[in-house]
Each structure stands twice: as structure tokens, then as C-alpha cells.
Amino acid sequence: DAGVTQSPTHLIKTRGQHVTLRCSPISGHKSVSWYQQVLGQGPQFIFQYYEKEERGRGNFPDRFSARQFPNYSSELNVNALLLGDSALYLCASSSGLYTGELFFGEGSRLTVL
């Protein structure tokens, strides 16, 4: 079975631009979460979606938004990019809303110049 897939794997943007990151969860998983991991730090929670509804939001500005589609795939959008948005963006899927056993993708490495 395919694991969590993310695209693109690497991308470079300049300040002020917009980026869209995509995630396909494991088949049968209805929950998708997004985490930001800055170099040398642990992952930090951004959003959780379950059954296409936002169920949680972390301490990130409104420039960050996400959505989940009927097939449970998800997009993370970041507007007006700042240098500090450079990070590894991780998508994780899980079978339930409150389970902490997450299955992570390999991430999208975003560099903002």
C-alpha cells in the first residue's frame, strides 16, 4: 500500500510569493494534519482536517490556510511568503480524529529567498 505522498518535494520561492503544497493520505485515512519543521526543531502543528472539516489550527498567521477534498487529499496554502517560512512541511494522515499514531509523508522542503 502506498504511504502518504506529498508534492512537490522541494521548491524555492521568493518573498511575497504564494505556495501550494499537496498531500495524499493513506487509503482509508480520513484525517490529515500539517506540521512545519524548521531545521533543528521538532514539528509544529499547523492544521488538522477530518472528514473535510477543519478540526484544529495551530498558532500560525492567517497567511496559512488549508483544505481537504472529498477524496481526503489536502492542500496547504501559504500567502505572502516570508524568509521565516523556510522549513520542511510535513503532512500526516491517521485513521481517526484523536489518534496520535500519525503516518508522515517525506515532506515538502520550502526555501524562501
Binding site: V4, S33, Y35, G40, Q41, G42, P43, Q44, F45, Q48, R55, G56, G58, L90, A92, L97, Y98, G100, E101, L102, F103, F104, G105, E106, G107
Partner: protein, 113 residues
């Protein structure tokens, strides 16, 4: 606010030299404590879930234990392939943050042959 502190930040061992990693946490009611392994350039990989003080879980050379304030990941006779960053995370039982994991910064383990 939930907090996780891991120590040491980095640990270098010789093959076969057993040791322990520490995870101290504060959370308003623990739903679960989780250990993940992260290889360079990859997403975290789930290892263990611990739910209550006194609980222990084992997998190959790894053993995780839990008290009311901290968790330990014991590594017995490590091999070079155990080299990775080990992340600890907590999930609250309720109160608006029960849908997310709060991660520590991780311990970078290097096992030399």
C-alpha cells in the same frame, strides 16, 4: 500550554553501548505520549504510544517507559542503523489541544561502528 523537553540534544555512542534518552513533559491531562524516529530528509516514523504511568513498550533494541512527568527511551546494544533523531510528543486529553501532537526538539543519536 503543553511543553516537551528532550535531553540530551545529541548523543554519540559506540556500537553496543547502551544508553537512555529523556523526555520531560507538562500537559493538562495526558491522552498519550509518543516516540517517533526521524531519518535525515524523511518524515517522522511512529515507534511507540504510552498512555499511563508505569507503562512500558518494547521493539527490538528500543524500550520506552513512562512516569507522570517524563518518559525514557532506552537503547540496548545499539547498532549504526539506530542512528537517527528521536522525537517525543504529547497529546492532551481535552481542552482544545486534544487533536494535535506537541513535539520536543528531538535527540540526535549517532552510533559509531
Amino acid at each position: 500550554e503543553d511543553q516537551v523537553t528532550q535531553s540530551p540534544e545529541a548523543l554519540r555512542l559506540q556500537e553496543g553501548e547502551s544508553s537512555s534518552l529523556n523526555c520531560s513533559y507538562t500537559v493538562s491531562g495526558l491522552r498519550g505520549l509518543f516516540w517517533y524516529r526521524q531519518d535525515p530528509g524523511k518524515g517522522p516514523e511512529f515507534l511507540f504510544t504510552l498512555y499511563s504511568a508505569g507503562e512500558e513498550k518494547e521493539k527490538e533494541r528500543l524500550k520506552a517507559t513512562l512516569t507522570k512527568k517524563e518518559s525514557f527511551l532506552h537503547i540496548t546494544a545499539p547498532k549504526p542503523e539506530d542512528s537517527a533523531t528521536y522525537l517525543c510528543a504529547v497529546q492532551a486529553k481535552s481542552g482544545g489541544s486534544n487533536y494535535k501532537l506537541t513535539f520536543g526538539k528531538g535527540t540526535l543519536l549517532t552510533v559509531n561502528p
